[in-house]
Symmetry: C2
Subunit: 253 residues, 2 copies
């Protein structure tokens, strides 16, 4: 009789952005298979569990995914509760489908606990809602990478958020201009969301963004374009709260 | 010296989908201004707080928003910590901008704690990832309502999720067909996500959806169209987990 697997979204960076349900499952798990990008402090929520870091670099993506699938099945066959802890939300760029299918093929039951995807965390941290009354009625979540030779396309939403953009900022900028976004379109770049290294920079699409590429290198990076990239006028209230100018870079006092 | 306001995303339905940070702030709040659609059980997280339900019907939207803005400012001027509890995520269709601006105009500091927006909760509950390797590389979040006379537009993402769709299902179907989505496109309709009344129905865009409109009437409803609406083949593992076929309709065992 195999155990079950709970996919749990860890949210980005800060350990206290996991859901209450996710934290409870961590505390009950026999084994945790954790992505590289989850907050190290989450391990303290599961002192009873065997903690296995997966997602190490050095393998081709396909090899890596096949190894994770096999480990999940193996762990569930030996333990009552396996938590598969993923950065952000499992359903958004989380490769969830492959792992669900591998478990299903082996008759292993599973559930999915959602997490805070980084677009939502960035919006909260910068206090810039992704939707705005009347002018920001749609949000696109996409990856920064494009297939070679993809034709230009029109704007797809009032706010577009590009994941995994760290090494794609210049190429993305060129593509958005070709797609018809005006040079004056606001662009907000957010890297290391929820981590101490969190960095936010503001631009317009017509700017030379090569400096921003260096500044945001080496970490998980979002590029937010359009209505949702503009700051709400916070006036006097825009002052930092206990050293966390974003209000979400760390625990509140 | 006024207090501060923490906007907290309650997630949809189930009380344990709030973040750990959000739950902690509830436990510290002096006053909670809560939307109608947050889980009643969250009130138990804030026994020390004055709990004020806002968002009652019977006012025009603009009157209602102005009243909430005024209450927020008034509460923050009299108490150290006010929590503004919103269903889902404050940054996605949460009218956050107006409330941030009202506080800023009065010099009141604030922070934003993200929450699980209902698209993520629906994906988890139905175990249908919104992105899929190779074929589902973008997700659009939009409202079902359209401006009168809006021209047809092309498909905007591999998966499109429409919020506030309860009374718009037929009109939305017509518009999507006019926009060029094929009649065979999968459509998943999810209402009352995370509540005991949760309901999921599967269709294709060419179907007569008037029956679905009745079935999902009267509750918060999402319409998911495209790649993310298709079920992952869960085979034998598709069996219900302790009466929660979705894996997220209630607390796990």
């Amino acid at each position: 009789m195999p155990g079950r697997v709970a996919f749990v979204g860890a949210g980005p960076g800060a350990a206290d952005l996991i859901t209450v349900r996710g934290a409870r499952l961590l505390g009950e798990a026999d084994v945790v298979l954790a992505d590289a990008l989850v907050a190290p402090a989450l391990r303290e929520q599961a002192p009873q569990a065997e903690w296995i870091a997966v997602g190490k670099r050095g393998y081709a993506e396909s090899t890596r995914q096949a190894r994770i699938n096999a480990m999940l099945v193996d762990c569930a066959q030996r333990h009552p509760l396996v938590v598969r802890l993923k950065g952000g939300d499992p359903s958004i760029f989380g490769r969830l489908e492959e792992e669900l299918a591998a478990l299903a093929a082996n008759g292993i039951a599973c559930e999915v606990v959602p997490g805070i995807t980084s677009a939502l965390a960035a919006a909260a941290a910068t206090r810039r809602p992704l939707t705005r009354r009347g002018v920001g009625r749609s949000v696109l979540l996409a990856t920064a990478m494009t297939r070679d030779g993809a034709p230009p396309r029109s704007r797809r939403a009032d706010t577009e958020v590009f994941y995994m953009a760290s090494r794609q900022i210049d190429a993305l900028r060129s593509r958005l201009l070709a797609d018809g976004w005006p040079a004056a379109t606001p662009v907000s770049i957010v890297s290391h969301i929820g981590w101490p290294l969190q960095e936010v920079s503001d631009h317009v699409l017509g700017d030379d963004l090569s400096g921003a590429s260096g500044r945001h290198a080496g970490g998980p990076t979002l590029v937010i374009v359009g209505t949702g990239a503009t700051a709400v006028d916070l006036g006097r209230a825009g002052v930092p709260i206990d050293g966390h100018p974003s209000g979400a870079a760390g625990p509140a006092p």
